[in-house]
């Protein structure tokens, strides 16, 4: 089967700044890929090149076997990070217009818009002007615009930014439905938890380079856990005494108890047994590895530029940077 997306040796620069360097990526049809990395890593640039909004300086991008996304635009749905609408147009007219641009008839586009608006809790907004909607409502309308053509490839750039938890849940459900329908989904985010929840495969980008391309399930096995979370039964127990146990790298106290970090190669089962002999636990568990930790470990192991882990962690949690190209 033809890959939904194939990127080979792509490089993109803006003046002296290298935005993307030697990017290779193949996404099979029907997959859900998470494109993650801190703000400014090059995710949006990569997506804009996939959409043929920007063009690479070097390398090739093929979408559904076509040399350019321009030849497959009717098969693609795209929700850009910076999304807008025609403020004076009604929601119905706006979505119908977008559907027609994507190769649908007016009736098809209007019908699909009506159904999806209802699915996202936006019945009765068809006749309202876009400028009369709240920010959250408008974001849901913009999401409907991206799937108005029942795309075979759906690219979502930070789809949950600024949405309330209920809207996030609704959007996640619809994304899952689109995936079940057969759509290939590329999902860009700097919030790792969203990628963990939705994606089969994770692609990490840092400073324009791909640093990881792995199935989400394999990540947990490959990057084994070395953290144990302990909540003691006796709140007065001496937790710092755990520091003396074999295989323990360090112990960090927190409000609920402590986090025990193991030395590489230590068997977690043996460590847990040793811990419980010293301190009776109310709760003890092996912490699941987080994408955030994988990312930070990869960056530090690759000896990347001297950005501190705290700074990276901050970027991963949502602070954004601005550039000439937005």
């Amino acid at each position: 089967m033809t890959a939904a997306l194939q990127i080979q040796g792509v490089r993109k620069t803006f003046g002296d700044k290298v935005a993307i360097e030697s990017l290779d990526l193949t996404i099979p049809q029907g997959a859900t890929y998470g494109l993650i990395g801190p703000s400014g890593a090059g995710k949006t640039t990569a997506i804009r090149m996939i959409m043929s909004i920007l063009f690479p300086d070097r390398g090739s991008i093929s979408v559904f076997g076509q040399g350019s996304a321009l030849d497959a635009k009717d098969r693609i749905g795209y929700l850009p990070e910076e999304r807008g609408s025609y403020r004076k147009m009604t929601v119905g007219a706006f979505l119908t217009y977008m559907g027609c641009l994507k190769g649908r008839t007016r009736a098809q586009a209007y019908g699909r818009a009506d159904r999806m608006l209802g699915r996202l809790g936006l019945t009765d907004v068809n006749t309202k002007k876009c400028e009369d909607l709240s920010k959250g409502m408008l974001q849901r309308v913009q999401f409907v615009a991206s799937i108005i053509n029942e795309p075979e490839l759906l690219i979502l750039d930070e789809p949950f930014g600024g949405l309330d938890p209920v809207s996030v849940r609704l959007l996640k459900e619809v994304i899952a439905e689109e995936h079940e329908r057969g759509a290939t989904i590329i999902f860009s985010t700097h919030v790792m938890a969203h990628a963990e929840e939705l994606c089969d495969q994770i692609v990490m980008i840092h400073q324009g380079r791909k640093v990881l391309d792995e199935p989400t399930s394999g990540l947990r096995r490959q990057y084994d856990a070395r953290r144990i979370l302990l909540e003691p039964l006796d709140l007065g127990a001496n937790l710092l005494a755990l520091q003396a146990l074999a295989g323990v790298e360090n112990v960090r106290l927190n409000d609920e108890g402590c986090e025990i970090r193991l030395l590489p190669g230590t068997d977690p089962g043996t460590a847990i047994r040793a811990i419980t002999t010293l301190v009776a636990p109310a709760r003890i568990e092996l912490a699941r590895i987080r994408l955030e930790d994988v990312f930070l470990r990869l960056v530090s192991e690759s000896g990347g530029p001297g950005e501190s882990q705290d700074a990276l962690r901050t970027h991963l949690q949502g602070l954004s940077t601005t550039g000439a190209i937005s």
């Binding site: 635009k73 929700l79 910076e82 807008g84 609408s85 025609y86 403020r87 641009l101 994507k102």
Partner: protein, 452 residues
């Protein structure tokens, strides 16, 4: 990569529909004809209809002793009316059996009664006669003092004397002008009569009525109209200018709005930058053509009111639409480029300067070229874009249009100019659409075009 005509059509249709139904555009569309009608038709009529007839007295002190009767005759309303008819441009030649000539539009004829005074009357004392409250009847309007040598020259003097005029502060300019013209005619008539000549015969011999020229051409004869020939190049120029300015401005504003609303990237998910640009250009072109068509129909209607519509060559309308289209595509592409490169309308001003200067300079030339359509300058300008379209339409609309090969050559050169400008615009448009931050300079735009 192929360009989809369907998508271009959809973008053009949306832009056209959104703008044509906007209240601001409709008001703008109607403002121009309303202003023209108001300026050239309604205001003069209103002013005329609201002007009350002036009735009053004029004291005449004839120191020459020979002009009083002539002046009394010249101030009779019938004489004033006859003079007004003669002074009206394009008055028809009197023909035997023709009905009375129509009374030209203007304020009501003043009724001026002469109060004769003896030659030795004291002017200084009489001046107080002019001072009276507003609304007093009869109104004392003026004192005319004919100088002693106004009719018969002093011995050895090459020139005649004249007259002194003292007026009331209530005398309006129109009545004063009527009075001056009457005194001038009366003095001239008195001088001729004193010299033994008949003023009526001489006045009649000086009148040569201007006929409308009959243009003899290969396709027959038709009556020309000097006024229309003077007006047409200017009118064609202004039609193109207004259409291009309106279409271009709308194009630029909508692009800036789409960029600042961040809807551009949503659109680029569905269409290519080139499709977006062509669609917007086409939508703006349709808007400008609609506006030009509305103004053309109104102009034809106005000409028909004066029985002048038949004088228009139908090919002029075809050429006007063709030249409008190519002019719009050149200037519209440049304005679209500017719109794509900035984030707010205020930032567009510095980049718009050179484009506006070029457009206004081209338009200004139509008046000059229309007067000398076949001068070397006019011919040269007809082949240099982007001035050439304005120059050529002025020549085509003039009384002496150029040969057809020149018109078609101008169109061909314009089409080449369109291709070059649209190519440049497309290059910049692709890069500029997603650019934010500091607005670029002209040099940066050229750099972008080279980068793309």
């Amino acid at each position: 990569m192929s360009v989809s005509l369907r998508r271009i059509g959809l973008i053009a249709a949306r832009d056209y529909k959104t703008t044509i139904t906007a209240r601001g555009f409709l008001i703008g569309l109607l403002v121009m004809p309303v202003l023209v009608v108001a300026l050239f038709v309604l205001i003069p009529r209103i002013l005329t209809s609201r002007t009350p007839q002036v009735t009053g007295e004029v004291t005449v002190i004839d120191s020459s002793g020979k002009a009083m009767s002539e002046l009394q005759h010249a101030l009779v309303p019938a004489q004033i009316l006859a003079r007004r008819i003669l002074e009206t441009p394009q008055n028809p030649a009197p023909t035997a059996g023709r009905a009375a000539q129509p009374v030209p539009a203007g304020p009501p004829i003043a009724v001026l009664t002469v109060v004769p005074m003896s030659a030795d009357a004291d002017v200084q004392t009489r001046k107080s006669w002019l001072i009276q409250p507003r609304g007093a009847t009869p109104q004392h309007l003026a004192i005319v003092v004919i100088q002693p040598d106004a009719v018969v020259r002093r011995a050895g003097s090459p020139a005649y004397g004249s007259y002194d005029l003292y007026t009331s502060s209530h005398l309006d300019a129109g009545t004063e002008s009527t009075l001056r013209n009457s005194v001038r005619d009366a003095l001239a008539a008195a001088r001729l009569r004193t010299a033994g000549l008949d003023p009526t015969t001489i006045a009649a011999s000086q009148q040569v009525f201007q006929p409308d020229a009959v243009v003899v051409a290969g396709d027959g004869e038709h009556t020309g109209s000097p006024g229309l020939a003077r007006f047409l190049p200017f009118a064609c120029g202004i039609l193109i200018f207004i259409g291009v300015m309106t279409g271009g401005q709308i194009l630029m504003t909508s692009t800036v709005e789409e960029k600042s609303n961040r809807v551009i990237e949503v659109l680029l998910a569905a269409v290519s930058p080139l499709e977006l640009m062509y669609g917007k250009l086409l939508g703006g072109l349709a808007l400008g053509l609609t506006m030009t068509a509305v103004y053309m129909v109104l102009s034809l209607y106005a000409l028909a009111q004066y029985s002048l519509a038949g004088l228009l060559d139908p090919m002029l309308i075809v050429y006007l639409l063709a030249f409008y289209t190519v002019t719009y595509l050149v200037f519209g592409s440049l304005m679209l480029t500017i719109g794509s490169a900035v984030n707010q309308m205020a930032e567009a001003q510095s980049l718009m300067g050179p484009v506006l200067i070029l457009l206004i300079a081209s338009y200004t030339l139509t008046g000059v070229i229309g007067q000398a359509p076949n001068s070397s300058f006019s011919v040269a300008m007809s082949f240099i874009p982007p001035v050439n379209t304005f120059a050529m339409i002025a020549r085509v609309a003039s009384s002496s249009p150029p040969p057809a090969w020149q018109v078609w050559t101008t169109l061909l050169i314009s089409c080449i100019a369109v291709l070059v400008v649209v190519w440049f615009a497309a290059k910049v448009f692709k890069i500029a659409l997603l650019m934010h931050g500091k607005p670029p300079s002209l040099i940066t735009l050229i750099k972008w075009a080279r980068m793309a």
